[in-house]
């Protein structure tokens, strides 16, 4: 960990301005940033603590959805009755992530801003394009069991670790962002994280100093929701593969479906082809199986993670089948 300055501004304008300076970085719960600073991967020269900012609101929107301030803790979101009843996929995703202690400390915005996970990214002495553009990707040809099978590039095969972001993708949430210029914009969650392409050093589309101020949930979707996370132990492990699914059926026909996958790509992965194939199809095992195949059709695995294709396919089909069986 290297020396840094620390400030705790009380206005969003001051915070975004401070963090937009070279070497500036926001800190909220710190559950990922501090780890990365200790292993010398993140080297901010100034930390801008946003905990004094007025970002803890958690209430209804005029459109019938919910607005979750960026500083609301993961625990508070997961245990909120409005979330549990109308957005159960989000509560399930949060409770499947990290540990109780981390969820108490971690914030909504911080959850989204986690860096991708890769052991080579975490060791500053190994080549990594994310850490040091142009140095090469050590995961390719290395230990890649947990890496991407979709949307990866020749420069990076890391996956995004957030469970919450996967659920938010299925829910089609929006992210509210404050820029240092004072401009406030919203973007769909699917536009927040990005694929690695040739610039894997950028995990998100945010510009320096841009601050997530809130997550906005649309009015509750029709249908049943589920989050299924496959992992190497029963708790406190990142997803090998996960799926967030919202399935709306009417008289044994799929009226609408939304899917998002975790653990397969540099961002929550939306299998659009699978969704399109299902709308209007019979809510049957055969339809779900066909959709699941479509979801992984373009997968390009590493030698160490080919199993993820079968795993993701089976998980999607099973989750949809279980949701259909729940009725409604």
């Amino acid at each position: 960990m290297r020396p840094f300055t620390f400030e705790r501004p009380t206005s969003i304008a001051a915070a975004t301005l401070a963090a937009s300076q070279l070497g500036g970085k926001f800190i909220a719960g710190g559950t990922n940033l501090l780890d990365l600073m200790k292993v010398d991967v993140e080297r901010p020269t100034s930390l801008v603590d946003i905990s004094a900012l007025p970002l803890r609101d958690f209430g209804a929107t005029a459109e019938g959805g919910l607005r979750i301030g960026a500083l609301v803790s993961n625990t508070d979101i997961a245990s909120d009755n409005r979330i549990r009843e109308a957005y159960p996929v989000l509560a399930e995703a949060l409770l499947n992530g990290a540990s109780a202690q981390l969820r108490n400390q971690a914030t909504a915005g911080g959850n989204l801003m986690q860096r991708t996970r890769c052991p080579y990214f975490y060791d500053v002495f190994m080549p990594c394009n994310k850490r040091q553009p142009g140095s090469g990707c050590s995961a390719i040809g290395g230990y890649s069991r947990l890496h991407a099978i979709l949307g990866a590039s020749r420069d990076c095969i890391a996956v995004h670790p957030s469970d919450m972001a996967v659920a938010l993708t299925a829910l089609q949430a929006e992210i509210e962002v404050h820029a240092p210029s004072g401009v406030v914009r919203t973007l769909p969650i699917c536009a927040l994280h990005r694929l690695p392409d040739e610039t894997p050093d950028h995990d998100t589309s945010l510009a320096p100093g841009e601050l997530i101020s809130a997550i906005i949930l649309p009015p509750p979707a029709r249908g049943k929701q589920a989050y299924r996370k496959v992992r190497d132990r029963a708790s406190f492990a990142f997803a090998v593969v996960s799926v967030a699914a919202i399935l709306d059926c009417s008289s044994r026909t799929v009226r609408d479906v939304r899917l998002a996958l975790g653990g397969v790509a540099h961002k929550p992965w939306q299998p659009r082809a699978a969704e399109r194939a299902l709308v209007g199809a019979p809510a049957s095992g055969a339809s779900f199986e066909a959709a699941a195949r479509a979801a992984v059709a373009g997968a390009e695995p590493q030698p160490g993670n080919q199993f993820k294709i079968d795993l993701a396919r089976r998980l999607i089909a099973r989750t949809l089948t279980d949701l259909a069986a729940r009725g409604g």
């Binding site: 052991p119 290395g142 230990y143 190497d232 132990r233 029963a234 795993l311 998980l315 099973r318």
Partner: protein, 702 residues
């Protein structure tokens, strides 16, 4: 009056631990203390050509940078020494790099933050050499270890194994692999060193005080009486704190150079390379049996990693020599030299991974014979030790098997895999036998009466979380006729009488027997009319002929029920029971805790633990607890251990045997066998992660 020994009383150090009053090595403070941070090698083999540390030296608060260019003179390393934990462990002694992550520099500063930041700025340039990092690649050069463990030879051969195997009606011939594992104890390695008047005191986190004392004194070329080593509380060791590591030696060297105390705490990431690990293994097991399950041949051959820097041979096949009867037998232990860190003992070295292979092979044989796996084991119960050909001191494997089967509800197990289900879970049961060698080591103890009613026990034994403080207090209380709360136990100081320390499950028996002797002598002198206050006696124990005349092991049986997710292949433990027989139990509560802890290690070995080597870098890649998985609470929902009544009159005066490692022995195999019973997946490559189960499910369902 009921015996105090054996009662499941609470740990006498429990309050100090939960209130934070118990000071572990990294909790220790000394006036004017400085902080060290270690810089580690980023190549696996080669030479340091230059070290650029100007930035580090100019960093505010930095006091010194130590490298091989300016490190003080130390005794040379002696490879293959008799007591490998007591020999010199020189640090920064040359420009040679023998493995990735080896210490190459030390930065000492006023604060830990400054030390670490400066350490990050040190640039080392290397000249790399090629290395060998994969056990399979090195198998051509496998060799017979020069020093096999525990006084046993690396080979045994009785009868005509190949002929008997070829002639057998039912045969199993399978290869099993186990990965590198790391101790991953909760408390990191840490040391604080302080010099006063030419004498060195090192507070460290250690299992073996006497060995550490000799190692530190010899490394620094000091007279033994100029060195004191203290380790009062240890937050888990599991073998990883048997040796002295770089933290202790570098702290001592830096403290002498600076003339002020220096503390060094290893980071979690450093622990994977700076300390030791359990070697990976490749094991071949061949079993031949008659139609009724009688074994006609047993062959168990192991290959495991050793290191160029030093030799270590895990005694993987030793327990196979004593577990089952068979007229034709062969065991062999081979090692191969890789350019990885030096492996060393990790909880139940040998049995822990040897039984992962043997006890899964026995399950495969039971399936091939269409026989119940418990019945197969009962069929092959030996009357005496099948290779040593001496009687067992005690052997209660059969009662462990039958009592365990009854309590676990083994009769509800369905033989056919995939036929029991609970929702999306395919449910299966598995079992395995447990066996662990019992050892007694030379030990001494001193007991002193502070008054007629209060006694102080002193010995250099450690309590690594096992309950040493408590069982020793119980033994002294019982022999002296005093309440436990009137016994003060002082451990972990090199100035106290020598013990073998904590390791190999010999600690409680060896130290307990020595203390029993001391208390008995003290009592005799009291009876002879000597005054109580200040009266002191020393006691001793030395292993006798009974360890040659009898085959001494502790035994047990594991029963596991797992669920396998029929879609994803995820394996989750549902419940687990171990029934054990380990001589007289010194404290029912701490013994059960140790056994349960061992069983949970078995869960980790079976399903989760793997330190992955990337051969391109010659390094362990999974270097934190997010990527090196050990079980979490949710993985171990219902684990219980039962202890059968036993007393081993040949073990020691107390009749006790070690329990610290017994719980892990066989535990992972019971889980592997339950996975097979649940879904039909026979995974011979540990750990049994979902990707290895998935192909069987694909075949089953599609």
């Amino acid at each position: 009056m009921d015996s105090i020994i054996g009662q499941g009383i609470d740990r006498i150090d429990g309050r100090a631990k939960i209130t934070g009053a118990a000071a572990y090595a990294a909790d220790k403070r000394a006036p004017d203390m400085a902080h060290g941070a270690i810089v580690t090698a980023t190549i696996a083999r080669g030479r340091i050509t230059s070290i650029e540390s100007t930035t580090a030296r100019n960093t505010l608060g930095v006091l010194m940078v130590m490298t091989h260019e300016n490190a003080p003179r130390q005794a040379p390393f002696q490879a293959r020494a008799d007591d490998r934990h007591a020999r010199p462990k020189p640090q920064l002694a040359s420009d040679e790099v023998q493995h990735f992550g080896a210490p190459v520099a030390l930065v000492v500063a006023e604060t830990p933050e400054a030390a670490r930041a400066a350490a990050d700025s040190v640039t080392v340039v290397y000249e790399k050499s090629a290395g060998v990092f994969e056990l399979g690649d090195a198998s051509r050069d496998a060799y017979d270890p020069l020093k096999a463990s525990e006084g046993e030879s690396s080979d045994s051969h009785i009868g005509a194994v190949d002929a008997a195997f070829d002639a057998a009606r039912t045969r199993i011939d399978a290869i099993y692999t186990t990965p590198y594992q790391c101790h991953a104890m909760m408390e990191p390695h840490a040391s604080l060193a302080s010099w006063q008047n030419g004498k060195l005191t090192v507070w460290s986190s250690l299992q073996l005080i006497e060995s550490a004392h000799k190692s530190i004194a010899d490394t620094l070329l000091l007279e033994p009486d100029h060195v004191e080593v203290i380790s009062e509380y240890v937050g888990g060791g599991f073998g990883g704190k048997l040796p002295v590591h770089a933290d202790a030696i570098l702290a001592a060297l830096a403290a002498r150079e600076l003339g002020r105390p220096v503390r060094i705490v290893l980071t979690r990431q450093q622990m994977f390379h700076v300390t030791t690990h359990r070697p990976a293994s490749i094991q071949r097991v061949r079993l031949g049996a008659d139609a009724d399950g009688t074994l006609t041949s047993i062959a168990h051959q192991s290959l495991s990693q050793s290191a160029r820097a030093d030799e270590f041979s895990e005694p993987i096949v030793n327990a196979t020599r004593s577990l089952y009867a068979a007229p034709n037998r062969l065991t062999s232990q081979r090692i191969a030299t890789l350019d990885l860190p030096v492996p060393d003992s990790m909880r139940a070295p040998g049995e822990a991974i040897g039984l992962l292979a043997l006890e899964q092979a026995m399950d495969e044989l039971a399936v091939a014979l269409d026989m119940d796996p418990i019945a197969l084991r009962l069929r092959n119960e030996p009357e005496q030790d099948p290779e040593k050909r001496v009687p067992f001191s005690t052997r209660a494997l059969v009662p462990c098997l039958t009592e365990g089967a009854r309590r676990f509800g083994w009769d509800r197990r369905r033989k056919q895999p995939g036929t029991t289900r609970d929702g999306r879970w395919l449910v299966g049961m598995g079992m395995a036998a447990a066996i662990r060698g019992n050892f007694l080591r030379k030990a001494s103890a001193r007991v002193t009466l502070k008054s007629a009613r209060r006694a102080v026990v002193e010995m250099d034994m450690t309590d690594i979380g096992t309950g040493s403080y408590t069982v020793l207090a119980q033994i002294a209380a019982e022999v002296l006729g005093l309440p436990v709360e009137n016994i003060e136990v002082r451990l972990g100081h090199s100035g106290y009488p020598d013990t073998p320390g904590s390791g190999g499950s010999f600690g409680a028996s060896s130290c307990g027997a020595a203390l029993h002797d001391a208390c008995t002598k003290l009592k005799a002198r009291l009876a002879a009319g000597e005054g109580a206050q200040g009266l002191s006696a020393e006691g001793h124990v030395t292993p006798g002929e009974d360890y040659k005349k009898y085959s001494q092991f502790a035994y047990g049986a594991h029963f596991a029920e797992v669920g396998v997710d029929e879609t994803t292949g995820e394996v989750r433990l549902r419940r687990m029971l171990g029934v054990f027989s380990a001589g007289r139990i010194l404290n029912a509560k701490t013994a059960r805790s140790q056994l349960i802890g061992g069983m949970i290690w078995g869960v980790g070995a079976a399903l989760e633990e793997e330190a992955v080597v990337d051969p391109r870098f010659g390094a362990f890649i999974t270097r934190d607890l997010a990527s090196y998985h050990v079980p979490v609470h949710a993985d171990v929902p219902d684990v219980d251990a039962i202890l059968l009544d036993e007393l081993d009159p040949h073990a020691n005066v107390l009749g006790s045997k070690g329990v610290g490692e017994l719980g892990i022995c066989g535990a992972g195999a019971a889980i592997a066998n339950a996975v097979y019973n649940a879904c039909g997946a026979r995974v011979r490559s540990y750990p049994i992660t979902l990707d290895k189960v998935l192909p069987t499910l694909l075949d089953r369902m599609e």
